[in-house]
Symmetry: C2
Subunit: 241 residues, 2 copies
């Protein structure tokens, strides 16, 4: 056999098991090995849960990869190298593995870090199957448009930049601002929105499509403490419909 083993990164979508793509579920069904990242954030087990109806545990092998938290991802290269080595080892003599992630593999996913190591070290063909992002699902569930035809929007991880000046500048330049992983940054975000008089132009969403989904446009009475990691805020300068 001259063909290289193949790893397909499958974005299983934001949480609702029905938001997986046909392409994603078919890749899962035809895989020999199913890799799932195990992180402290709990994303991994959710991705596996979404994929479970398409997995045949008699025939397919499940392999968990212990991986660093996304926030430290760039700094923890040895962990990624070890994961890449495990994948290469597991796929030896096998044709195809899938790597499961929540959302889209190339947007704030763990996959880009792993991919870099596979790219460098391993004889594996890598393919990507895109997934529904949490912000698209939150906008759909919350009933708010993200962009009209002539608008521009920006997406950023909330934990990195949530001060008032940054938010103000972004909201001057963009019609829609999406703050990902808003959980711990929520008090800062809400203070900034208050000062900018934009509290009524924001939507908060957590665990979209999962047990405990919670979506609100009322950030005034929202308890800002102890919100989960899987959460985001969408701010639209021009308001909603």
């Amino acid at each position: 056999m001259t063909e290289l083993p193949e790893l397909i990164a499958v974005g299983v979508g934001p949480g609702d098991p029905e938001l997986i793509t046909l392409k994603g579920l078919r890749a899962i069904q035809s895989a020999d090995v199913i890799f799932t990242p195990l992180s402290r954030e709990g994303d991994a087990s959710i991705a596996l849960q979404i994929a479970t109806p398409w997995i045949d545990q008699e025939r397919q092998r499940l392999v968990s990869l212990p991986l660093p938290m996304t926030r430290d991802a760039g700094q923890l290269r040895p962990a990624w190298q070890a994961a890449a080595a495990t994948i290469q080892q597991e796929l030896t003599g096998r044709q195809r593995g899938v790597y499961l992630l929540l959302g889209d593999p190339l947007l704030y996913g763990t996959f880009s870090y792993l991919w870099r190591e596979l790219h460098t070290a391993a004889n594996i063909t890598v393919k990507i199957i895109p997934g529904i992002t949490s912000f698209a699902a939150a906008a759909a569930a919350g009933g708010v448009p993200l962009t009209m035809a002539d608008e521009r929007f920006v997406v950023l991880p909330a934990s990195y930049e949530t001060d008032m000046l940054t938010l103000q500048r972004l909201l001057n330049d963009f019609n829609t601002v999406v703050l990902m992983k808003a959980g711990t940054a929520l008090p800062t975000i809400v203070t900034a929105l208050q000062q900018l008089n934009l509290l009524d132009n924001a939507l908060y969403a957590e665990r979209v499509g999962l047990e405990g989904e919670f979506i609100t446009r009322d950030l005034r009475t929202l308890d800002l403490q102890h919100r989960p990691y899987l959460s985001l805020v969408i701010v639209r300068r021009g308001g909603w419909l």
Copy 2:
């Protein structure tokens, strides 16, 4: 029957028929009426083509809605009002319609304009099923990450802002810039990228997942004229993997 008729906007994804979600195809299968926007841009027929395997034309009724071009969308309110009236009329006495769009309904889709009219005038419950965006599919097909964990990215319609200063400012502030609908703006975009010395940090993609898909990282030799409307450019300041 006291329940309102229901319209579900279904994002069928960027072009590859397998990138439709399970939720989307099930909504199509259980609809009484299938609405497709007909625009000069040809998006509509592609969305319908993707949905066709899930439509039973014996049982389900197909209705085309003549709609304005996206670029003029905000100005042509009477056309949206007429479409909303048609939908309300078609759904009278029926339980459920779906409205098909390429990509995601809330990102540069025609749906937000229609939704505004339905919201104002019609007794219809509106739901949204998100779809895979063209930029996620282009990144996946082209093999380029969109964002690592601590990065931010911006998405804008290329036809509106493609001058060098705008691009330069965006690329100073954001790791990744996605220019949607790049077709006619491509010569300006490439000139700006040349001046910023970023030509090697760009990917051009057209008709992703469709017949005639074309993706290249070589913008130096790309023929910039007559590129189609369904096209985009992804620029990453830090380069690729």
